[in-house]
Symmetry: C2
Subunit: 135 residues, 2 copies
Amino acid sequence: MSKMHKEHTLTKNQQIIFDLIDKSPEPMKAYSILFSVQKKGINAPLQVYRALDKLVEIGKIHKIESRNAFIACHNSSCQVAKATAFSICEICEKVTEISSTGLSKYLTNFKDKDGMKYSKYNLEFFGSCKKCTPK
Amino acid sequence: MSKMHKEHTLTKNQQIIFDLIDKSPEPMKAYSILFSVQKKGINAPLQVYRALDKLVEIGKIHKIESRNAFIACHNSSCQVAKATAFSICEICEKVTEISSTGLSKYLTNFKDKDGMKYSKYNLEFFGSCKKCTPK
DNA sequence: ATATTAATGTTATATTATTACACAATGTTA
DNA sequence: TAACATTGTGTAATAATATAACATTAATAT
Ligand SMILES: [Zn+2]
Ligand SMILES: [Zn+2]
Ligand SMILES: [Zn+2]
Ligand SMILES: [Zn+2]
């Protein structure tokens, strides 16, 4: 197994919660996750938040900050867990992870006036998706 | 008074809360604001959140989503209330609004695969500021 | 003046997230 | 293996963030 791409073996709770988010067509909120996994023996918010923290850390999921919700990474298990971009439809709340080499190159190399170098970014675009945009 | 740049006369609550945020060297959280303005007769969370909502709407302040905190706009009363970018130091939590024509042009014109056109974006860079970066 | 819209004040409640503590499983090193 | 360190778990309590519902008042528009 390559060093570049360490497989994190998920623990039971992490796997249950990842599977749920991964199957969901839309971002899931922590307490909605909690409700859904109670039948599987996960009873407390903290159990959910701990799994979410870990999953975010290893890049299996991302947090949509403006929505306090979580979405599975579909950028081939995100090399770029630390460089995320999403489009969010303000009508139907559909969220899509943007995978654009141009964009990520531009942002990764961006330097501000102070010369501060960034290790991470999160970008959220808002608008109206194709389905929701009147022709 | 020009139509392009309508001056919003702030109401009493809005003005009190804007002044507080504007004077603050760091982003302020809603309940910290509440605590600070109680001596001025603002007693309830909702009074704070309503003022914050309005101030965000008219571009006098911005919300730092990853921190649930609010910062005054210093881009000359943000023409671009809907196109915001910040740098955030993960060590000292200093937050700076980025004002880069290049960046805002790039992002404003960005189109994803689906051709979805965006009306708004928020970008947050994370890293270590000059002061916090070891030489 | 009247209708409409925006803001206020207040109470209660909903939603999101963390602290604290005891314990168990797993991994590392001697 | 034994000892240690690290990570994950379970549970209870609580903190922090945000909104709903309702009555009232102030500001704007016709
Ligand atoms: Zn991803
Ligand atoms: Zn949509
Ligand atoms: Zn601004
Ligand atoms: Zn710093």
